[in-house]
């Protein structure tokens, strides 16, 4: 069995191949390059290095978001098309959970964070042991979320490259309960994605869609206008 893992849900590009419990190759680039341009060449190159042919793949694992809308769509489009046309199962996994896996084993909670501008983030809270979700993946005001995390009264390990952006606020709210993963553990790893996929159910290929965790601006404005009319 050979799993291909693809995470393009934020600026890093994470890819891996795992064959029967052995990591054949794993790549993580943090170069802010356009996934639409580089994801497929990187997959092609990586598979060539590992001497794995497309027809050898047995499963596809993909990070389904939240994250950059465009980034998530690129990964999902590639993963869906590969899985459907090769007639193999697709597993989609939360992009935040993939990041949280970097904190596996931490004695406390793990908080993956992806900045979403204007003081907000895509953010979630997981158990350090077993990665059970404690606070669901969401788009939230960072401070509000941190206050909820604080109420739980447990140490929290922050991960994700955007943890740095919010470090001051995190320390302000959580004080000594705040911990930060070291820099190599802030990037998503596609090997983690695949391991999570192996514990998850198969997704329906055609109906697998990004988990944006946020409606579009056009819809938000439209809803606001509708409410205005009703009042």
């Amino acid at each position: 069995m050979i799993y291909l893992g693809i995470d393009t849900s934020n600026s890093p590009l994470a890819l891996a191949l795992i064959e029967d419990g052995v990591v054949l190759i794993e790549e993580t680039a943090n170069l802010k390059i356009n996934h639409s341009l580089t994801a497929m060449p990187a997959i092609e190159e990586m598979m060539k290095k590992a001497k794995v042919l497309p027809a050898d793949l047995t499963h596809i694992a993909v990070a389904e978001g939240p994250g950059s809308y465009t980034g998530v769509r690129i990964g999902l489009t590639i993963a869906k098309t590969l899985a459907w046309s090769l007639k193999i199962p697709l597993h989609s996994v939360s992009s935040l959970k993939v990041l949280a896996a970097n904190g596996q084993g931490f004695d406390g909670l793990v908080c993956p964070i992806m900045d979403a501008r204007r003081g907000t983030a895509f953010i979630g809270l997981y158990e350090g042991t077993g990665l059970k979700s404690v606070l669901a993946d969401q788009h939230s005001d960072v401070k509000e979320f941190l206050l909820k995390a604080k109420e739980l009264g447990r140490p929290v390990l922050f991960t994700g490259i955007d943890a740095a952006l919010h470090e001051a606020l995190i320390v302000e709210v959580l004080g000594r309960a705040a911990h930060f993963s070291s820099i190599q553990n802030r990037l998503p790893r596609a090997s983690n994605l695949i391991l999570l996929a192996q514990q998850s159910e198969e997704s329906d290929v055609h109906h697998a869609v990004p988990e944006y965790r946020r409606i579009t601006e056009a819809e938000a404005n439209y809803n606001k206008a509708q409410e205005g009319q009703i009042l």
Partner: protein
Amino acid sequence: MSKDIYVLGIETSCDETAASIVKNGTEIISNIVASQIESHKRFGGVVPEIASRHHVEQITLVIEEAMQLAGMEPDQLDAVAVTEGPGLVGALLIGVNAAKAFAFAHQLPLVGVHHIAGHIYANRLEQEMEFPLLALVISGGHTELIYMKEHGDFTVIGETRDDAAGEAYDKVARTLNLPYPGGPHIDRLAHTSDEAVMFPRIWLEEGSYDFSFSGLKSSVLNYMHNAAQRGEQVVPERVAAGFQNSVVEVVTGKTMRAAEEYKARQVIAAGGVAANKGLRNSLDAAFKQKGIPFHIPSLPLCTDNAAMIAAAGTVMYEKGLYGNMAMNGRPGMPLTSWI
């Protein structure tokens, strides 16, 4: 006898998710289009983020339907052709990445097609092209006159300097409180009126094949505004007819003059606005009188579809013009010749 060529076409440049299989660049085997018009209607136009969201939801379904309807497996295909540009960047890259993944999975050649080249080659699915050829591409995003000496040789001899014709139709329709997209409604209203408001004809400099529709659109808006100030009742049918007369006269006039100057042996029209009855009748009559063969593809081939991308892609495939895994959506892609 040479072997038949089967190409899978994929198009996601705007608000239709489409896939098609075409044989030898001339024969449609399957042609699937999932339109999103209903989702964008309430916003009065295409919302790019919503378009992208729909594309990713539909893409594999649409390709599967095209393959199933054709009764084909990937290994029976010769190439995958996809719209590389121009269009909405977030929309384009869904089709491009699906095409790349599909081509990679089955080790097929990948061909990136210009959307307008696709619109022109839609004609070849109904009638063989004759060169020199003049194409009028007239849609929501484009208004262009393109001269072709032979296959894959494109010279843009005229284009809009501001709004595309369809865009002008949609904007005028909005001021008349007609639903989106307004083009067909204006067309319908124009045909129910015996009288028409007189609006200017925008010909630009003498000899120019370029178009401009924003001035005409402003005249219509001014007319509406002045009538409202004077408390006069506007007759929408007369406004629609007046606007349409101006568009039709200028577009027919320029297309005709270009066909004569470039000695076209065939003139074709393509794009959503080519569905316009007033324009079709006018072009038909004008070219019949001159004895120049004129063709407009049937409606499903005028609007965005993937069969046209497969048709153009087949000729590119035959010329060995392959793309690779580094292909990206190109929102501002220029129309360049293949030779």
